[in-house]
């Protein structure tokens, strides 16, 4: 609760600072930053959606199933976890066109980030599935509950709660990674910061403002995450 | 007269109006307790009633909110400086702490050291013994607890009973005056409890130490202790000689507790 209050406090301070900044000379930069911030949010939200989907699909595929499903998931996870996110982004942007697949920068960016972080998220989900006590699956068998129902009504709800902290941290890494799509010509925040610096040559002010925006996003995500965690773990007994 | 002594009683350990809380939970409230030198006291009672807390406060592992605890009439949570009571200094508390040894429920042996190394660690680095001296003494102590062939074994190579006996040897190597046993056999498989209790019995019989024993082993408590205290809800409900407590309990809660224990066995 205390953490939530301080997070909300930080966000309010940031908003006030933003307002004050708009009244000073910094207002030259602000329209660009706002435009960049909007694109960052767009890229982030789309990537996050893909990230969540891939985390659970691949995590459950690798953690709960066997055979070919598990193999495909493992293949995906090891490839996308094994390499750097920038390499993946460049691969989607520079290499795929040579195979005839032309993706817009936005698509390439969202796919690259979403799939890369989805692989990390999948491992977190897989770990959570393993930690949901085996005794519960045995109880389900004894109660004649179908494996499908066991997965969806017993395992997944618990996994969902357990993974919130780990997935939040990964989500924050994801948001930071959106800065990299500037390299594939998406006009998000970092792109605009680089552009402004090229025009005005005031790196300290400009990049400080950029840092400020990202810090703001991060705190916002933390807030949502702590709300989710509190709301969903009301009935979970935290085992030491 | 010891440096921090506030008065002269003939008690080894004194708890005076001690209050200990964990957040909102009051574990000890206005708790008073006296122990004579070389007396062995068994503390029995339900889990979570505070038995362990008494030992932990004495071992300075916890801080109390109110009250004073004295060892040899020196307080351990405050000290006297120019006729005022102030928070303890590091050297003061370490001097007093060297008189107390503790054996834990889950042994807490150092896993990266052999049995012998576990034993000599404290004497060499806190009592200034030379390494050879400490090794000699520790070997004798390990012999006395029946582990003469285990000097160079690591904890992971020893059974639970053997590990706990090393833990006892380690505490003895400190040459303490007071020995605290916090449910020493509760983590052991049944067939190993006996070997540990035998060691503790010998220690108590030697009358060289003041012993506080928190335990669920009622038969053992009845056999070896000078006094038994039944602990419940933050205070001692009834205390007295073992025969009196076990054969003739007066307090209702004590009677219920004892009957439940008998039922289970």
């Amino acid at each position: 609760m205390n953490n939530r209050l301080s997070t909300v406090g930080i966000i309010i301070c940031l908003l006030i600072a933003l307002y004050i900044a708009s009244l000073t000379e910094l207002k030259i930069y602000l329209p660009n930053f706002i435009e960049g911030a909007i694109v960052t949010v767009k890229v982030a939200v789309l990537s996050l959606i893909l990230f969540f989907i891939m985390s659970f699909v691949a995590g459950i595929a690798r953690g709960h199933f066997n055979g070919i499903i598990k193999w495909i998931a493992t293949f995906y996870i090891e490839i996308f976890r094994g390499t750097s996110v920038l390499v993946i982004l460049f691969w989607f942007f520079f290499v795929l066109p040579e195979f005839g697949i032309l993706l817009s920068p936005l698509t390439a960016g969202v796919l690259g980030i979403g799939l890369n972080f989805g692989a990390y998220g999948a491992e977190i989900v897989r770990g959570a599935i393993a930690s949901v006590a085996k005794g519960q699956s045995e109880a389900s068998i004894a109660l004649n509950i179908s494996p499908y129902k066991h997965l969806t009504r017993i395992v997944v709800p618990q996994v969902f709660v357990i993974t919130i902290p780990g997935l939040t941290n990964t989500a924050m890494e994801l948001i930071k990674a959106t800065s990299l799509v500037a390299g594939i010509t998406i006009g998000e925040l970092t792109f605009h910061a680089m552009k402004l610096n090229g025009i005005f040559f005031k790196p300290l002010e400009i990049f400080a403002i950029a840092l400020f925006f990202y810090y703001f996003f991060a705190q916002f995500i933390r807030l949502i995450s702590s709300y989710l965690e509190e709301h969903f773990s009301k009935h979970m007994n935290k085992e030491a | 007269m010891l440096e921090g002594q506030l008065f002269m009683s003939d008690k080894k350990i004194i708890f005076e109006n001690v209050k200990k809380t964990y957040g909102d939970l009051i574990v000890l409230d206005d708790f008073n307790f006296l122990v004579d030198p070389n007396e062995s006291v068994a503390i029995i009672g339900p889990s979570g009633s505070g038995k362990t807390t008494i030992l932990r406060l004495l071992m300075t592992l916890e801080k109390m909110q109110e009250g004073l605890v004295y060892i040899d009439d020196e307080p351990i949570n405050m000290m006297k400086v120019n006729d005022k009571l102030v928070p303890v200094s590091n050297s003061y508390i370490r001097r007093i702490r060297s008189k107390i040894g503790m054996v834990f429920q889950n042994f807490n042996l150092f896993p990266h050291m052999t049995a012998l190394q576990n034993c000599i660690e404290s004497p060499v680095h806190t009592k200034g013994l030379s390494k050879t001296q400490a090794i000699d003494e520790s070997k004798k102590i390990l012999d006395s607890v029946g582990l003469s062939d285990k000097y160079d074994n690591y904890p992971s190579q020893l059974s639970g009973g053997q590990q706990q006996r090393v833990a006892i040897a380690r505490a003895l190597a400190m040459r303490p005056e007071i020995l605290l046993f916090d449910e020493p056999t509760s983590s052991l498989d049944p067939e190993m409890i006996g070997e540990v209790l035998n060691v503790i019995r010998d220690l108590i019989k030697s009358k060289k130490y003041t012993v506080l024993l928190a335990t669920h082993q009622m038969g053992f408590a009845k056999e070896v202790s000078d006094r038994v205290c039944f602990f419940n809800d933050g205070n001692i409900i009834e205390e007295g000689k073992p025969e009196k407590i076990f054969n003739n309990p007066k307090n209702e809660r004590l009677k219920k507790f004892l009957s439940k224990i008998l039922e289970a066995s």
């Binding site: 390299g183 610096n197 | 834990f104 896993p111």
Partner: protein
Amino acid sequence: MDWDWELTLEVVIPRLLEATWVTVYVTVISFLLSLVGGLIFMILKTSKNRLISIIATEFIEIIRSTPLLIQIFFIFFGLPRFGITLPPVTSGIIAFSLYNSTLCAEVYRAGLLAIPKGQWEACTALNLSFVRSFFRIIFPQSLVPIVPALGNFLVGIFKETPILSFVAVAEIMHVAKLIGYEYYEFTEAITTVGIFFIILSLISAKLINVIENYVRRTVIHE
């Protein structure tokens, strides 16, 4: 698919191998500096002085929740404002070290936290000094979780190095792009870089496993 093997063998691989030196150099130096920096950050963060502890915590939070790329730009473009002009590699190493020190501090913290509280209590019961308790008892045991975590940490830094292509440091990603611009063929260069990272990841995972077992056997003889 028409993979140009000639390009791969005569241009891509030789130039990437050359650039690997830069990548390794940046990685190792940043790693070593982060080991020290992480220690400093951890000490500051757990300082008894509340002011130091709060400032350190907030500073670490800012570094951890903002992109490394912006931090690199801040240092690379910002230092010249103070009259300090450094080559891109050096700015990169500084930014990397700062950023990764905060991660390293977290590795240390988690490693120490993994030691059961009972070990500390045994040290108190045996009346050992804090220094002795920490260096002889706690620290050796903390190597078991910390060493493999540092292994992963090192690999993580390696995978971050492509970011330096934004400031034209001649590491492998940058060189791969240059090959692409020069020969109008990105596939061979970038795919090779990707495969290189994947192979490195798989090998290092196995290696770290071996090291972890070795440390566990040597320290706590399990």
